[in-house]
Protein backbone atom coordinates (compact mmCIF):
# COMPACT_ATOMS: atom_id res chain seq x y z
CA UNK A 1 0.00 0.00 0.00
CA UNK A 2 1.22 3.44 -0.86
CA UNK A 3 -1.23 5.22 1.38
CA UNK A 4 0.70 7.83 3.25
CA UNK A 5 0.50 10.63 5.73
CA UNK A 6 -2.59 12.87 6.05
CA UNK A 7 -2.91 15.11 3.01
CA UNK A 8 -6.20 16.75 3.92
CA UNK A 9 -6.99 17.54 7.55
CA UNK A 10 -10.60 18.28 8.31
CA UNK A 11 -10.98 19.44 11.89
CA UNK A 12 -14.28 20.12 13.65
CA UNK A 13 -15.82 21.80 10.60
CA UNK A 14 -19.11 23.63 11.11
CA UNK A 15 -21.45 24.83 8.40
CA UNK A 16 -24.74 26.67 8.67
CA UNK A 17 -26.98 27.78 5.85
CA UNK A 18 -29.71 30.30 6.06
CA UNK A 19 -32.90 29.15 4.38
CA UNK A 20 -34.99 31.50 2.26
CA UNK A 21 -37.29 32.17 5.18
CA UNK A 22 -34.25 33.20 7.23
CA UNK A 23 -34.22 30.13 9.48
CA UNK A 24 -30.73 28.80 10.16
CA UNK A 25 -29.95 25.31 8.91
CA UNK A 26 -27.19 23.36 10.62
CA UNK A 27 -25.57 21.36 7.83
CA UNK A 28 -22.25 20.14 9.21
CA UNK A 29 -21.61 19.69 12.91
CA UNK A 30 -18.04 19.19 14.01
CA UNK A 31 -16.91 17.01 11.14
CA UNK A 32 -13.35 15.75 11.60
CA UNK A 33 -11.30 13.25 9.63
CA UNK A 34 -8.11 13.03 7.62
CA UNK A 35 -7.66 12.06 4.03
CA UNK A 36 -4.34 10.33 3.47
CA UNK A 37 -2.06 10.84 0.53
CA UNK A 38 -2.93 8.52 -2.39
CA UNK A 39 -5.98 7.27 -0.61
CA UNK A 40 -9.38 6.56 -2.16
CA UNK A 41 -11.81 7.78 0.47
CA UNK A 42 -15.58 7.80 0.20
CA UNK A 43 -18.00 9.94 2.14
CA UNK A 44 -21.18 7.90 2.53
CA UNK A 45 -24.42 9.30 3.82
CA UNK A 46 -28.12 9.78 3.18
CA UNK A 47 -29.41 12.67 1.08
CA UNK A 48 -29.11 15.97 2.91
CA UNK A 49 -26.32 14.91 5.27
CA UNK A 50 -24.11 17.69 3.95
CA UNK A 51 -21.67 15.41 2.17
CA UNK A 52 -21.85 17.39 -1.07
CA UNK A 53 -21.52 20.60 0.90
CA UNK A 54 -18.39 19.20 2.51
CA UNK A 55 -16.98 18.41 -0.92
CA UNK A 56 -17.67 21.96 -2.13
CA UNK A 57 -15.98 23.24 1.00
CA UNK A 58 -12.94 21.09 0.22
CA UNK A 59 -12.88 22.56 -3.28
CA UNK A 60 -13.08 26.08 -1.86
CA UNK A 61 -16.37 26.89 -3.59
CA UNK A 62 -18.27 27.25 -0.33
CA UNK A 63 -17.03 28.92 2.86
CA UNK A 64 -17.39 27.20 6.23
CA UNK A 65 -18.12 28.78 9.61
CA UNK A 66 -16.00 26.90 12.08
CA UNK A 67 -13.13 24.50 12.50
CA UNK A 68 -10.36 24.24 9.98
CA UNK A 69 -9.44 22.53 6.74
CA UNK A 70 -5.87 22.23 5.59
CA UNK A 71 -4.44 20.61 2.52
CA UNK A 72 -0.77 19.79 2.92
CA UNK A 73 -0.73 22.19 5.85
CA UNK A 74 -2.24 25.05 3.81
CA UNK A 75 -5.64 26.41 4.81
CA UNK A 76 -8.25 26.17 2.03
CA UNK A 77 -9.47 29.56 0.86
CA UNK A 78 -10.65 28.94 -2.68
CA UNK A 79 -10.44 26.63 -5.69
CA UNK A 80 -6.90 25.70 -6.57
CA UNK A 81 -4.98 23.83 -9.24
CA UNK A 82 -4.23 20.99 -6.80
CA UNK A 83 -7.91 19.96 -6.82
CA UNK A 84 -10.42 19.10 -9.56
CA UNK A 85 -14.09 18.24 -9.25
CA UNK A 86 -16.21 15.73 -11.13
CA UNK A 87 -19.80 16.95 -10.85
CA UNK A 88 -22.92 14.88 -10.35
CA UNK A 89 -24.80 16.45 -13.26
CA UNK A 90 -21.68 16.46 -15.47
CA UNK A 91 -21.74 20.28 -15.86
CA UNK A 92 -20.49 20.17 -19.43
CA UNK A 93 -20.72 23.26 -21.63
CA UNK A 94 -23.42 22.25 -24.12
CA UNK A 95 -22.19 24.73 -26.75
CA UNK A 96 -18.64 23.40 -26.76
CA UNK A 97 -17.26 20.26 -28.33
CA UNK A 98 -16.05 17.41 -26.13
CA UNK A 99 -12.45 18.46 -26.78
CA UNK A 100 -13.10 22.08 -25.82
CA UNK A 101 -14.92 20.96 -22.69
CA UNK A 102 -11.96 18.87 -21.59
CA UNK A 103 -9.54 21.69 -22.42
CA UNK A 104 -11.62 24.27 -20.54
CA UNK A 105 -9.75 24.11 -17.19
CA UNK A 106 -6.52 24.88 -19.03
CA UNK A 107 -7.92 28.06 -20.56
CA UNK A 108 -7.83 29.91 -17.27
CA UNK A 109 -4.24 28.89 -16.67
CA UNK A 110 -2.62 30.53 -19.65
CA UNK A 111 -1.88 27.25 -21.43
CA UNK A 112 -1.35 27.84 -25.16
CA UNK A 113 -4.02 26.58 -27.55
CA UNK A 114 -1.91 23.87 -29.15
CA UNK A 115 -0.83 22.48 -25.81
CA UNK A 116 -4.40 22.65 -24.50
CA UNK A 117 -5.58 20.49 -27.39
CA UNK A 118 -2.74 18.05 -26.95
CA UNK A 119 -3.36 17.62 -23.23
CA UNK A 120 -7.13 17.38 -23.72
CA UNK A 121 -6.62 14.64 -26.32
CA UNK A 122 -4.40 12.74 -23.91
CA UNK A 123 -7.05 13.02 -21.18
CA UNK A 124 -9.79 11.88 -23.55
CA UNK A 125 -7.63 8.94 -24.51
CA UNK A 126 -7.40 7.89 -20.88
CA UNK A 127 -11.18 7.68 -20.58
CA UNK A 128 -11.52 5.99 -23.97
CA UNK A 129 -13.29 8.79 -25.81
CA UNK A 130 -10.70 9.72 -28.43
CA UNK A 131 -13.18 9.21 -31.25
CA UNK A 132 -15.65 11.71 -29.87
CA UNK A 133 -13.65 14.91 -29.53
CA UNK A 134 -15.71 16.82 -32.09
CA UNK A 135 -19.07 15.72 -30.67
CA UNK A 136 -21.34 17.99 -28.69
CA UNK A 137 -22.20 16.74 -25.18
CA UNK A 138 -25.91 16.26 -25.94
CA UNK A 139 -25.07 13.63 -28.56
CA UNK A 140 -23.37 11.44 -25.94
CA UNK A 141 -24.96 9.07 -23.45
CA UNK A 142 -24.92 9.95 -19.76
CA UNK A 143 -22.06 7.56 -19.11
CA UNK A 144 -19.99 9.07 -21.89
CA UNK A 145 -20.77 12.59 -20.69
CA UNK A 146 -19.46 11.73 -17.26
CA UNK A 147 -16.30 10.26 -18.79
CA UNK A 148 -15.84 13.65 -20.43
CA UNK A 149 -16.32 15.16 -16.96
CA UNK A 150 -13.65 12.83 -15.62
CA UNK A 151 -11.26 13.68 -18.47
CA UNK A 152 -11.81 17.38 -17.76
CA UNK A 153 -10.78 16.83 -14.15
CA UNK A 154 -7.77 14.73 -15.13
CA UNK A 155 -6.51 17.23 -17.70
CA UNK A 156 -5.17 19.56 -15.01
CA UNK A 157 -3.38 16.63 -13.40
CA UNK A 158 -4.69 17.49 -9.95
CA UNK A 159 -3.27 16.03 -6.79
CA UNK A 160 -6.74 15.53 -5.39
CA UNK A 161 -9.81 14.39 -7.29
CA UNK A 162 -13.10 15.45 -5.71
CA UNK A 163 -16.05 13.43 -6.99
CA UNK A 164 -19.58 14.53 -6.12
CA UNK A 165 -21.90 11.52 -6.62
CA UNK A 166 -20.45 11.29 -10.12
CA UNK A 167 -22.38 8.18 -11.10
CA UNK A 168 -25.60 9.05 -9.27
CA UNK A 169 -27.40 10.17 -12.41
CA UNK A 170 -26.55 7.01 -14.37
CA UNK A 171 -28.31 3.68 -14.76
CA UNK A 172 -27.01 0.71 -12.74
CA UNK A 173 -25.15 -1.02 -15.59
CA UNK A 174 -23.38 2.12 -16.71
CA UNK A 175 -22.55 2.87 -13.10
CA UNK A 176 -20.76 -0.43 -12.45
CA UNK A 177 -18.94 -0.10 -15.75
CA UNK A 178 -17.71 3.39 -14.88
CA UNK A 179 -16.72 2.25 -11.38
CA UNK A 180 -14.35 -0.27 -12.97
CA UNK A 181 -13.07 2.35 -15.40
CA UNK A 182 -12.42 4.71 -12.52
CA UNK A 183 -10.54 2.04 -10.57
CA UNK A 184 -8.42 1.29 -13.63
CA UNK A 185 -7.54 4.94 -14.10
CA UNK A 186 -6.96 5.42 -10.39
CA UNK A 187 -4.73 2.36 -10.02
CA UNK A 188 -2.43 3.81 -12.67
CA UNK A 189 -1.61 7.10 -11.04
CA UNK A 190 -3.03 6.83 -7.52
CA UNK A 191 -4.38 10.29 -7.01
CA UNK A 192 -5.98 11.11 -3.73
CA UNK A 193 -9.72 10.72 -4.31
CA UNK A 194 -12.55 12.01 -2.15
CA UNK A 195 -15.69 10.35 -3.47
CA UNK A 196 -19.16 11.36 -2.27
CA UNK A 197 -21.92 8.79 -2.63
CA UNK A 198 -25.10 7.51 -1.05
CA UNK A 199 -24.65 4.01 -2.51
CA UNK A 200 -23.12 1.64 0.05
CA UNK A 201 -21.85 -0.98 -2.40
CA UNK A 202 -20.24 1.72 -4.51
CA UNK A 203 -18.41 3.11 -1.49
CA UNK A 204 -17.14 -0.34 -0.47
CA UNK A 205 -16.16 -1.34 -3.99
CA UNK A 206 -14.09 1.74 -4.69
CA UNK A 207 -12.61 2.85 -1.40
CA UNK A 208 -9.74 2.31 0.98
CA UNK A 209 -11.80 3.90 3.71
CA UNK A 210 -15.39 5.01 4.04
CA UNK A 211 -16.54 7.91 6.21
CA UNK A 212 -20.16 7.35 7.19
CA UNK A 213 -22.12 10.49 7.93
CA UNK A 214 -25.39 11.07 9.75
CA UNK A 215 -28.34 13.09 8.43
CA UNK A 216 -28.41 16.82 9.06
CA UNK A 217 -26.63 18.14 10.96
CA UNK A 218 -23.97 15.98 9.34
CA UNK A 219 -21.62 14.27 11.77
CA UNK A 220 -19.11 11.50 11.29
CA UNK A 221 -20.70 8.28 12.54
CA UNK A 222 -17.90 5.90 11.79
CA UNK A 223 -14.83 5.53 9.62
CA UNK A 224 -14.59 2.04 8.14
CA UNK A 225 -11.40 0.50 6.74
CA UNK A 226 -12.13 -1.51 3.62
CA UNK A 227 -9.63 -4.29 4.08
CA UNK A 228 -10.21 -5.87 0.69
CA UNK A 229 -7.28 -6.32 -1.65
CA UNK A 230 -6.82 -3.33 -3.96
CA UNK A 231 -6.78 -5.45 -7.10
CA UNK A 232 -10.55 -5.41 -7.29
CA UNK A 233 -12.81 -6.74 -9.99
CA UNK A 234 -16.51 -7.40 -10.23
CA UNK A 235 -16.19 -10.76 -8.43
CA UNK A 236 -15.26 -8.94 -5.24
CA UNK A 237 -18.90 -8.02 -4.87
CA UNK A 238 -19.75 -11.66 -4.28
CA UNK A 239 -17.23 -12.28 -1.50
CA UNK A 240 -18.34 -12.56 2.15
CA UNK A 241 -15.92 -9.79 3.18
CA UNK A 242 -17.53 -7.39 0.76
CA UNK A 243 -21.04 -8.24 1.82
CA UNK A 244 -20.19 -8.10 5.49
CA UNK A 245 -18.89 -4.56 5.02
CA UNK A 246 -22.00 -3.57 3.09
CA UNK A 247 -24.22 -5.08 5.78
CA UNK A 248 -22.30 -3.33 8.53
CA UNK A 249 -22.59 0.06 6.84
CA UNK A 250 -26.25 -0.47 6.15
CA UNK A 251 -26.68 -1.27 9.81
CA UNK A 252 -24.89 1.91 10.88
CA UNK A 253 -26.96 4.01 8.51
CA UNK A 254 -30.24 2.36 9.35
CA UNK A 255 -29.77 3.32 12.95
CA UNK A 256 -29.77 6.99 12.08
CA UNK A 257 -31.97 7.21 9.01
CA UNK A 258 -34.94 5.43 10.57
CA UNK A 259 -34.41 5.52 14.34
CA UNK A 260 -37.59 3.57 15.00
CA UNK A 261 -36.26 0.64 12.98
CA UNK A 262 -33.00 0.42 14.86
CA UNK A 263 -34.34 -2.11 17.35
CA UNK A 264 -35.64 -4.36 14.63
CA UNK A 265 -32.41 -4.59 12.70
Amino acid sequence: MTVGAPLISIDRVQKHYRTQSGAPLHVLDGVSFDVRDNEFLSILGPSGCGKSTLLRILDGLTPYDGGSIAIDGQSVSGPGPDRAVVFQNFALLPWSSVLDNVAFPLEGRGVKSAERKERARAALDRVGLSDFEEHYPRTLSGGMQQRVGLARALVVNPRILLMDEPFGALDALTRTFLQDELLKIWSRDRKTVVFVTHAIDEAVYLSDRVVIMSPRPGQVLEIVDVSIDRERAAEVRDTPEFNELVAHMRHVLRGVVHPEEAGLA
Binding site: D59, L61, P79, G80, P81, A84, V85, F87, N89, A91, L93, P94, W95, S96, F104, P105, E107, G108, R109, Y136, R138, T139, R152, V156
Partner: protein, 274 residues
Protein backbone atom coordinates in the same frame (compact mmCIF):
# COMPACT_ATOMS: atom_id res chain seq x y z
CA UNK B 1 -30.20 19.85 -16.81
CA UNK B 2 -32.54 22.03 -18.82
CA UNK B 3 -32.77 25.33 -17.04
CA UNK B 4 -36.23 26.80 -17.31
CA UNK B 5 -35.23 29.70 -19.46
CA UNK B 6 -38.14 31.99 -20.08
CA UNK B 7 -37.09 35.01 -22.07
CA UNK B 8 -39.81 37.13 -23.59
CA UNK B 9 -41.46 35.35 -26.45
CA UNK B 10 -40.16 31.96 -25.43
CA UNK B 11 -37.62 31.23 -28.08
CA UNK B 12 -35.85 27.99 -28.82
CA UNK B 13 -35.06 27.34 -25.17
CA UNK B 14 -38.70 26.59 -24.56
CA UNK B 15 -40.05 25.19 -27.79
CA UNK B 16 -39.24 21.53 -27.98
CA UNK B 17 -41.20 20.44 -31.01
CA UNK B 18 -41.14 16.79 -32.00
CA UNK B 19 -39.03 16.21 -35.08
CA UNK B 20 -41.44 16.22 -38.00
CA UNK B 21 -41.43 13.17 -40.20
CA UNK B 22 -41.57 13.32 -43.98
CA UNK B 23 -45.24 12.46 -44.58
CA UNK B 24 -46.26 15.02 -41.98
CA UNK B 25 -44.10 17.67 -43.60
CA UNK B 26 -45.71 17.04 -46.95
CA UNK B 27 -49.14 17.19 -45.33
CA UNK B 28 -48.37 20.50 -43.62
CA UNK B 29 -46.96 21.96 -46.83
CA UNK B 30 -50.02 20.82 -48.75
CA UNK B 31 -52.38 22.31 -46.19
CA UNK B 32 -50.46 25.59 -46.23
CA UNK B 33 -50.70 25.87 -50.00
CA UNK B 34 -54.35 24.87 -49.87
CA UNK B 35 -55.14 27.53 -47.29
CA UNK B 36 -53.32 30.19 -49.32
CA UNK B 37 -55.22 29.21 -52.46
CA UNK B 38 -58.48 29.35 -50.52
CA UNK B 39 -57.76 32.82 -49.15
CA UNK B 40 -56.72 34.11 -52.57
CA UNK B 41 -59.83 32.57 -54.15
CA UNK B 42 -62.09 34.29 -51.66
CA UNK B 43 -60.22 37.53 -52.35
CA UNK B 44 -60.63 37.04 -56.10
CA UNK B 45 -64.34 36.31 -55.73
CA UNK B 46 -64.93 39.22 -53.33
CA UNK B 47 -62.99 41.60 -55.57
CA UNK B 48 -65.02 40.64 -58.62
CA UNK B 49 -68.34 40.69 -56.77
CA UNK B 50 -68.14 43.72 -54.48
CA UNK B 51 -64.99 45.64 -55.41
CA UNK B 52 -64.05 48.12 -58.07
CA UNK B 53 -60.61 48.86 -59.56
CA UNK B 54 -60.58 52.00 -57.36
CA UNK B 55 -61.42 50.43 -54.02
CA UNK B 56 -60.95 46.68 -53.77
CA UNK B 57 -59.52 44.92 -56.81
CA UNK B 58 -59.53 41.13 -57.26
CA UNK B 59 -56.31 39.24 -56.59
CA UNK B 60 -55.60 38.73 -60.29
CA UNK B 61 -55.45 42.49 -60.87
CA UNK B 62 -53.08 42.89 -57.92
CA UNK B 63 -50.88 40.06 -59.20
CA UNK B 64 -50.72 41.71 -62.59
CA UNK B 65 -49.77 45.04 -61.04
CA UNK B 66 -47.19 43.27 -58.92
CA UNK B 67 -45.46 41.72 -61.93
CA UNK B 68 -45.52 45.07 -63.69
CA UNK B 69 -43.98 46.80 -60.68
CA UNK B 70 -41.21 44.22 -60.51
CA UNK B 71 -40.30 45.08 -64.10
CA UNK B 72 -39.91 48.79 -63.38
CA UNK B 73 -37.19 50.58 -61.42
CA UNK B 74 -39.41 52.65 -59.14
CA UNK B 75 -40.25 49.71 -56.88
CA UNK B 76 -36.63 48.72 -56.40
CA UNK B 77 -35.48 52.26 -55.68
CA UNK B 78 -38.34 52.70 -53.20
CA UNK B 79 -37.61 49.37 -51.51
CA UNK B 80 -33.96 50.36 -51.14
CA UNK B 81 -34.96 53.65 -49.48
CA UNK B 82 -37.31 51.77 -47.15
CA UNK B 83 -34.71 49.20 -46.19
CA UNK B 84 -32.19 51.91 -45.38
CA UNK B 85 -34.07 52.90 -42.23
CA UNK B 86 -34.43 49.25 -41.26
CA UNK B 87 -30.75 48.44 -41.66
CA UNK B 88 -29.49 51.44 -39.69
CA UNK B 89 -32.24 51.39 -37.06
CA UNK B 90 -32.12 47.65 -36.45
CA UNK B 91 -28.30 47.57 -36.56
CA UNK B 92 -28.21 50.29 -33.91
CA UNK B 93 -30.83 48.41 -31.86
CA UNK B 94 -28.68 45.27 -31.94
CA UNK B 95 -25.61 47.09 -30.64
CA UNK B 96 -27.41 49.22 -28.06
CA UNK B 97 -29.88 46.50 -27.06
CA UNK B 98 -27.30 43.79 -26.43
CA UNK B 99 -25.00 46.33 -24.78
CA UNK B 100 -27.76 47.58 -22.48
CA UNK B 101 -28.78 44.00 -21.64
CA UNK B 102 -25.23 43.02 -20.75
CA UNK B 103 -24.84 46.10 -18.56
CA UNK B 104 -28.19 45.44 -16.85
CA UNK B 105 -27.18 41.86 -16.13
CA UNK B 106 -23.96 43.14 -14.61
CA UNK B 107 -25.22 46.03 -12.48
CA UNK B 108 -28.35 45.80 -10.40
CA UNK B 109 -28.60 49.58 -10.14
CA UNK B 110 -28.46 49.99 -13.91
CA UNK B 111 -30.97 47.16 -14.25
CA UNK B 112 -33.44 48.88 -11.92
CA UNK B 113 -32.97 52.17 -13.77
CA UNK B 114 -33.30 50.82 -17.28
CA UNK B 115 -36.01 48.20 -16.77
CA UNK B 116 -38.80 50.77 -16.36
CA UNK B 117 -38.00 52.49 -19.63
CA UNK B 118 -37.49 49.27 -21.51
CA UNK B 119 -40.86 47.97 -20.31
CA UNK B 120 -42.52 51.20 -21.41
CA UNK B 121 -40.92 50.91 -24.83
CA UNK B 122 -42.11 47.32 -25.01
CA UNK B 123 -45.74 47.98 -24.20
CA UNK B 124 -46.64 51.60 -24.92
CA UNK B 125 -47.83 52.61 -28.39
CA UNK B 126 -44.92 54.41 -30.01
CA UNK B 127 -46.79 56.44 -32.60
CA UNK B 128 -47.38 59.32 -30.11
CA UNK B 129 -43.59 59.69 -29.94
CA UNK B 130 -43.44 60.63 -33.59
CA UNK B 131 -43.92 64.41 -33.13
CA UNK B 132 -41.12 64.30 -30.58
CA UNK B 133 -38.84 62.48 -33.00
CA UNK B 134 -39.65 64.97 -35.76
CA UNK B 135 -38.86 67.80 -33.37
CA UNK B 136 -35.53 66.19 -32.55
CA UNK B 137 -34.40 64.81 -35.89
CA UNK B 138 -36.53 66.54 -38.52
CA UNK B 139 -38.38 64.49 -41.09
CA UNK B 140 -35.41 62.87 -42.79
CA UNK B 141 -33.77 59.50 -42.49
CA UNK B 142 -32.64 60.05 -38.86
CA UNK B 143 -36.25 60.19 -37.67
CA UNK B 144 -37.12 56.96 -39.43
CA UNK B 145 -34.00 55.27 -38.08
CA UNK B 146 -34.94 56.45 -34.59
CA UNK B 147 -38.43 54.97 -34.87
CA UNK B 148 -37.16 51.59 -36.10
CA UNK B 149 -34.63 51.67 -33.25
CA UNK B 150 -37.26 52.48 -30.62
CA UNK B 151 -39.52 49.73 -31.87
CA UNK B 152 -36.89 47.01 -31.63
CA UNK B 153 -34.33 47.90 -28.97
CA UNK B 154 -36.25 47.04 -25.80
CA UNK B 155 -37.03 43.40 -26.46
CA UNK B 156 -33.42 42.77 -27.45
CA UNK B 157 -32.13 44.43 -24.27
CA UNK B 158 -34.59 42.67 -21.95
CA UNK B 159 -33.95 39.25 -23.46
CA UNK B 160 -30.19 39.73 -23.32
CA UNK B 161 -30.39 40.64 -19.64
CA UNK B 162 -32.65 37.72 -18.80
CA UNK B 163 -30.51 35.33 -20.84
CA UNK B 164 -27.32 36.29 -19.02
CA UNK B 165 -28.98 36.10 -15.62
CA UNK B 166 -30.55 32.71 -16.23
CA UNK B 167 -27.37 30.90 -17.25
CA UNK B 168 -27.15 27.50 -15.57
CA UNK B 169 -25.74 28.00 -12.06
CA UNK B 170 -24.08 24.57 -12.17
CA UNK B 171 -22.00 25.65 -15.14
CA UNK B 172 -20.94 28.85 -13.38
CA UNK B 173 -19.93 26.82 -10.34
CA UNK B 174 -17.98 24.42 -12.55
CA UNK B 175 -16.13 27.31 -14.18
CA UNK B 176 -15.33 28.83 -10.81
CA UNK B 177 -14.10 25.49 -9.56
CA UNK B 178 -11.68 25.28 -12.48
CA UNK B 179 -10.35 28.74 -11.71
CA UNK B 180 -12.04 30.72 -14.49
CA UNK B 181 -11.79 34.49 -14.06
CA UNK B 182 -14.54 36.95 -14.97
CA UNK B 183 -13.46 37.38 -18.59
CA UNK B 184 -13.22 33.67 -19.30
CA UNK B 185 -16.45 33.06 -17.43
CA UNK B 186 -18.23 35.60 -19.62
CA UNK B 187 -16.68 34.47 -22.88
CA UNK B 188 -17.12 30.73 -22.39
CA UNK B 189 -20.12 30.37 -20.07
CA UNK B 190 -22.36 33.40 -19.58
CA UNK B 191 -22.50 34.75 -23.10
CA UNK B 192 -22.83 31.43 -24.99
CA UNK B 193 -25.46 30.39 -22.46
CA UNK B 194 -27.43 33.55 -23.17
CA UNK B 195 -27.27 33.26 -26.97
CA UNK B 196 -30.60 31.40 -27.33
CA UNK B 197 -32.42 34.07 -25.32
CA UNK B 198 -30.58 36.87 -27.13
CA UNK B 199 -31.47 35.41 -30.50
CA UNK B 200 -35.12 35.05 -29.49
CA UNK B 201 -35.00 38.77 -28.63
CA UNK B 202 -33.33 39.58 -31.94
CA UNK B 203 -36.03 37.66 -33.81
CA UNK B 204 -38.84 39.49 -32.00
CA UNK B 205 -36.96 42.78 -32.37
CA UNK B 206 -36.65 42.24 -36.11
CA UNK B 207 -40.41 41.80 -36.39
CA UNK B 208 -41.00 45.00 -34.46
CA UNK B 209 -38.37 46.82 -36.52
CA UNK B 210 -40.27 45.95 -39.70
CA UNK B 211 -43.39 47.47 -38.16
CA UNK B 212 -41.41 50.58 -37.21
CA UNK B 213 -40.01 50.82 -40.70
CA UNK B 214 -43.49 50.85 -42.26
CA UNK B 215 -45.05 53.10 -39.62
CA UNK B 216 -42.26 55.63 -40.18
CA UNK B 217 -43.07 55.94 -43.86
CA UNK B 218 -46.78 56.14 -43.32
CA UNK B 219 -46.87 58.70 -40.51
CA UNK B 220 -43.54 60.57 -40.50
CA UNK B 221 -42.67 61.17 -44.07
CA UNK B 222 -43.76 59.75 -47.36
CA UNK B 223 -40.68 58.08 -48.83
CA UNK B 224 -39.85 54.65 -50.15
CA UNK B 225 -42.60 52.09 -50.34
CA UNK B 226 -44.79 54.18 -48.06
CA UNK B 227 -44.68 56.98 -50.63
CA UNK B 228 -45.59 54.53 -53.40
CA UNK B 229 -48.63 53.45 -51.41
CA UNK B 230 -49.70 57.07 -50.99
CA UNK B 231 -49.10 57.86 -54.66
CA UNK B 232 -51.21 54.94 -55.89
CA UNK B 233 -53.91 55.67 -53.35
CA UNK B 234 -54.02 59.26 -54.56
CA UNK B 235 -54.44 58.07 -58.14
CA UNK B 236 -57.08 55.51 -57.13
CA UNK B 237 -54.85 52.70 -58.41
CA UNK B 238 -55.90 50.16 -55.82
CA UNK B 239 -54.28 47.17 -57.56
CA UNK B 240 -50.86 48.83 -57.57
CA UNK B 241 -51.32 49.96 -54.00
CA UNK B 242 -52.06 46.41 -52.85
CA UNK B 243 -49.10 45.15 -54.87
CA UNK B 244 -46.83 47.46 -52.87
CA UNK B 245 -48.37 46.19 -49.64
CA UNK B 246 -47.55 42.66 -50.76
CA UNK B 247 -43.97 43.71 -51.45
CA UNK B 248 -43.74 45.02 -47.90
CA UNK B 249 -45.11 41.73 -46.58
CA UNK B 250 -42.54 39.80 -48.60
CA UNK B 251 -39.72 41.98 -47.26
CA UNK B 252 -40.96 41.42 -43.71
CA UNK B 253 -41.15 37.66 -44.14
CA UNK B 254 -37.73 37.56 -45.79
CA UNK B 255 -36.16 39.47 -42.90
CA UNK B 256 -37.71 37.09 -40.38
CA UNK B 257 -36.54 34.05 -42.33
CA UNK B 258 -32.98 35.38 -42.37
CA UNK B 259 -33.06 36.01 -38.62
CA UNK B 260 -34.56 32.59 -37.93
CA UNK B 261 -31.88 30.94 -40.04
CA UNK B 262 -29.22 32.80 -38.08
CA UNK B 263 -30.90 31.84 -34.81
CA UNK B 264 -30.86 28.17 -35.76
CA UNK B 265 -27.22 28.31 -36.76
CA UNK B 266 -26.15 29.97 -33.52
CA UNK B 267 -28.10 27.54 -31.34
CA UNK B 268 -27.32 24.39 -33.31
CA UNK B 269 -25.69 22.90 -30.20
CA UNK B 270 -29.15 22.55 -28.70
CA UNK B 271 -29.93 20.03 -31.42
CA UNK B 272 -33.32 21.42 -32.32
CA UNK B 273 -34.31 21.11 -35.93
CA UNK B 274 -37.38 22.86 -37.18
Amino acid sequence: MVASLRPIGGGPAVSRAKPTTWPRRVLVLGLRIGLLVLILSIWEWAGRTFGTPFTFPPFSAVAEAFVQLLGGTELWVSAAITLESFLFGFGLALVVGIGTGLLAARSQVFDRLSAVYLRILMTAPLAPLVPLLIGLFGIGLPSRIALVFLFSVAVIALNTRTGIQRVDADLLQMARSFGAGEVLMFRRVRFPGAVPAIMAGVRLGAGRAVVGMVVAELIIVSVGLGRLINVYRGRFKAAEMFAVVIVILIIGVAILLIVKWLERRLTAWKGERT
